[in-house]
Symmetry: C2
C-alpha cells in the first residue's frame, strides 16, 4: 500500500499540469462529423501520440479511410494481465453556438453552483475521461518507472460519427489490440459522490415501417371516407404495440429477457432511485413503461419499443385536405438479456402484416440491430475494481445499467473475443452533445485516482 499512496501523492502534486495537458487537448477542434475539421482530428491524434510517448508508451498514429486511430502499448510484464484502454478523442459539433457562454474550444475552469467544472466541448465526452486514465499511467510511471502490467491503448476519432473505420481496424489489428480485458471510460457515475461500473448495456433494433394505401395522394373531399388512409392504418398498428400495462405485445418479445439477478436487484433497490426527479427534469411525472417494473428497471434492464419519428401527408404550415398515399414510422427497440435482434424484427413484421388491410402494402427499411451486452460480475476484475472505486470515493460503488448503447463493447466482444469493463466519471448534468458541456474537476481528479487504485487492484 505504501507504493500506491506514493502514486496517488504524485498525481495530487501534479494536478495543475494535468489540467493544463487536458486543456491543450480540449483546444483542438476535433469534430469528426464535419470534414472541415479533419486536420484537427489528425492534430488531436498527433497530440495523443506525443503524450503517450512522453510516458514511455510505444504509440503511433494509424491512418484509416476516416480519421486516424491512436494505438500504443507499454512493455509486457510477466504474470500480469494485459489490459486495453479505449477512449475517443473526437467530439460532437458545437451548434447551436449562440447557446454557449464561452468559446467551446477555449476551456476554462469555472465555479458552478456546487462544484468547480471544466467547461469545453469534449470536457466530459470523452477527452476529460480518457485523460483520467493517461494521467493515472503517468503518475504510476513517475513513481515506478514502468506500468504494473502491459497496457495497450486505442483512441478512436470517429466515435461521434458512427465509427465507420472501427470494425475493419479491429479485424486488421486483432493481435495488437486484444487483451485480457478492455477498460472503457465513456460512462457515468451513479451520482456526484457515488461511482459506478456499468455492467448492462441495452441492445437496439431500428426499423422503419412505410405503409402505402392509395397509389397517389388523394383529395380528402373526393375520396375521404371510402379510401384507406395510411395514417389511420399506421396509428392502429402503433397503438397495438403496447398493452394497457405498458408491455410490448409482440409474440415472444419477452422470451429471452431474464429477471434481474438477485444481487443486482437488491443493490438497485437500495439505490432509492429518484424516479420523480429523473422524470421531473424533463417535464414528466409518471413512469410510462411496464407497470410492474420500477423506473430504473424500465430504463436499465427492461426492453422497450419506442417511436422515434413519424410522418405522412401534409406537415407544413396551414392545412391541406390531402388523403396521403403513404405514412411511415421509425421504430426502435432497446433489447436486454438474450433478445435476438432478428427475432424481434421478424415478430414485428408478422404483427404488422396481421394488422394490414388487404389493399395496403408495407415496406421496411432496416437501420441495424445489436443484442444487449451483459458483463458478468463473476469475472474477478469486477469486484476488485468495485473495491478500488469504493475506497477512492468513500462510497459503495454501484453495478449500474445503461439504457443507451456503447457499440465498441459489442465490437470488442464479437471481433476480438474481449470483454470490457465500463467505468467513467461523467454526471447526468454534464450536457454532453449540448452547449456548455462540462466535466466536474472532481470527476477528473478523483477519476485519475480511481484508475491508479484500479490498476493497483488488477495487478496485485
Amino acid at each position: 500500500m505504501a507504493s500506491l499512496q506514493q502514486v496517488l501523492d504524485t498525481a495530487a502534486a501534479s494536478q495543475e499540469q494535468a489540467l493544463e495537458r487536458l486543456f491543450q487537448l480540449l483546444r483542438i477542434k476535433s469534430i469528426s462529423t464535419d470534414p472541415a475539421y479533419a486536420d484537427q482530428c489528425v492534430a488531436a491524434a498527433d497530440w495523443l501520440v506525443a503524450d503517450l510517448n512522453r510516458i514511455g508508451i510505444d504509440a503511433r498514429r494509424c491512418d484509416t479511410p476516416g480519421h486516424p486511430m491512436v494505438v500504443g502499448q507499454s512493455k509486457p510484464v510477466k504474470n500480469k494481465p494485459v489490459l486495453l484502454f479505449y477512449g475517443h478523442y473526437d467530439v460532437q459539433p458545437v451548434d447551436p453556438i449562440a447557446l454557449w457562454n464561452n468559446d467551446p474550444f477555449d476551456p476554462v475552469l469555472e465555479d458552478a453552483a456546487d462544484a468547480q467544472v471544466i467547461r469545453a466541448r469534449g470536457a466530459a465526452d470523452d477527452k476529460g475521461q480518457l485523460m483520467t486514465f493517461v494521467e493515472a499511467c503517468r503518475a504510476w510511471v513517475a513513481v515506478h518507472g514502468e506500468l504494473p502490467c502491459q497496457i495497450r491503448f486505442l483512441f478512436e476519432g470517429e466515435e461521434e460519427s458512427g465509427s465507420p473505420s472501427l470494425i475493419p481496424f479491429l479485424k486488421d489489428n486483432a493481435e495488437a489490440l486484444t487483451a485480457d480485458l478492455a477498460l472503457v471510460c465513456d460512462t457515468g457515475m451513479w451520482d456526484a459522490t457515488t461511482p459506478a461500473i456499468c455492467t448492462m448495456l441495452r441492445g437496439m433494433v431500428g426499423e422503419e415501417v412505410i405503409i402505402t394505401g392509395p397509389d397517389k395522394d388523394l383529395h380528402s373531399g373526393m375520396y375521404g371516407g371510402a379510401a384507406q388512409n395510411p395514417i389511420r392504418v399506421l396509428s392502429h398498428i402503433l397503438a397495438g404495440l403496447h398493452d394497457e400495462n405498458g408491455a410490448v405485445t409482440l409474440d415472444g418479445f419477452y422470451d429471452d429477457v431474464p429477471e434481474l439477478p438477485e444481487e443486482i436487484d437488491q443493490q438497485w433497490k437500495q439505490l432509492n432511485f429518484d424516479a420523480a426527479g429523473f422524470l421531473g427534469a424533463v417535464g414528466l411525472a409518471e413512469p410510462a413503461g411496464e407497470k410492474q417494473y420500477s423506473a430504473l428497471e424500465q430504463i436499465w434492464s427492461r426492453p422497450t419499443c419506442e417511436f422515434c419519428g413519424i410522418t405522412g401527408g401534409y406537415t407544413g404550415e396551414g392545412f391541406k385536405t390531402v388523403l396521403p398515399s403513404t405514412a411511415s414510422c421509425k421504430i426502435s427497440f432497446r433489447l436486454t438479456g438474450q433478445q435476438d435482434p432478428q427475432k424481434i424484427v421478424d415478430a414485428l413484421h408478422r404483427y404488422i402484416e396481421s394488422k394490414l388491410p388487404s389493399d395496403c402494402s408495407v415496406e421496411y427499411k432496416s437501420h441495424g440491430g445489436a443484442p444487449a451486452t451483459v458483463m458478468s460480475i463473476d469475472n474477478a476484475a469486477f469486484p476488485k475494481a468495485h473495491k478500488a472505486l469504493s475506497e477512492e470515493w468513500e462510497s459503495n460503488a454501484v453495478y449500474a445499467g445503461c439504457g443507451g448503447s456503447i457499440p465498441v463493447v459489442g465490437d470488442f466482444q464479437e471481433h476480438l473475443g474481449m470483454e470490457s469493463m465500463l467505468i467513467g466519471f461523467g454526471l447526468d448534468d454534464d450536457q454532453i452533445h449540448s452547449p456548455n458541456e462540462k466535466y466536474n474537476l472532481s470527476s477528473f481528479q478523483k477519476g485519475i485516482n480511481s484508475w491508479i487504485r484500479i490498476l493497483d487492484a488488477l495487478t496485485e
Copy 2:
C-alpha cells in the same frame, strides 16, 4: 320551342369562334397564388369585362386588396327571375412543369383516346366552364337581342388561393349581387354522357392536434421505457377515432346526420356506381368507410374523419434514437346534414382530453370549419334544370353529391341569403390542379347548349 332551337343553332354555327375566345382567355397566365402573376390576373379580368361588354352586359372590373372581381349585369326583365352566374378566372400553378406535354398556357385541341379535348391550365377549372355560360348568353343575345331575364355576373380571381377578398366583397356589394338563384359552374358530370346537378356539398372542419410529452427531445436509450412518448399517445388517440366498422367514435358525431331522402337514395342505387373502378383507379380495392353504407354514400352523404398529415420526432434520412417532445396530426372532418362544426370540434377535444395521460398536454390549432350545404330539390328551378339537362344530353340527369367543399355556396347562403344550383361539365379525368389539365370539347359545346336550355327552362 322554335326560338330555343334558333339559339342552339346559332351556338352551333359559331363553335369555332367560341373556341378561339376560350383560347384567348386560356393564354392569360392568371395564377392567383403567385404574386408574380398579379398583372396576368388583372389582364384576365379585363378580358372578361371586354367580352361581357361585347354581348351588351354592363360589366366592370372591381379591384380588391387581392385580385380583382369582375361584376356585371344585364338589364332587368319584368316578371322574370334574377339570376347570378358565378365562376372564377384564376388558375392553379403549373408545377411540376416538366410533366406537361405542352405549354400549359398555349391551349391546343387534341385527339385523346376517346374524345377531342382542350388541353391547357384552366381548361376545365374554371375558364372552360365559365365560358360555357358566357357563350350561351352570347348566342341568346344574338338571336333575341337581349337575355331572357336579368343576369348578374361575378367572376372571382382568388378561388384557387383561398378567396380572401370574397366575403368582404359580398358584404359590400350585397345589393348588386343578390339574385333569386345563383348558378355555379365549377362541378362535374356523373360520367362522360350523364349530366349532374350537385345538391349536396359536405362541410369541413380542419383541426390540428399537438401532443407534448417531455419538455425536450430525449435520448431513447437514456429515457426510453420510462418517459411518455407523444407519438405513442397520439397513435392511441387516432386509433380510437374509428371503430371496427369504420364509424367515427366521437360522442354525438352522427346526431345531426339525416338518412338519405328516399328519392335520392333510389336514384343513387340506380346509378350502379362502380366502386371497384373508382377505388381501383387509385390502387385500392375495398371501401374503407362505414361498413353499412355504400362507397357512394361514404364519399357523398356520410361524414368522415381523415388524417391529412402527421409528424413527430426525426423524419429525415437514416435513424436517430430520439424520444420526441411533441407529435402532431392534422385531422379533417367532412360534415353532412346539420352537423355543427363547433360541436364536432368540442367533441374531439373532449375525446382527446379523456385519452391524454396525466403528464402530457395538448394544444390545438383551428383551421376553420363550415357546415354542409344541402340544396333542396323542392325548389322548382331544380326539376326544370334537370329536365333541360336530360334533354340536351339525352340521358337522365343525376342529383349528385360532392365530397369536396365549394365555399362560395356557403358564402352566398350566409352573406346574401342566396341559394345556389351547381351544374358543371367537368369529368373525373380532367386532371384539374395537375399537369396536362383538359376539358372535353363535348363538355364545352354541350355545356353551352345545356345553359341555353336551362335559361329557357328557368324563364318560360
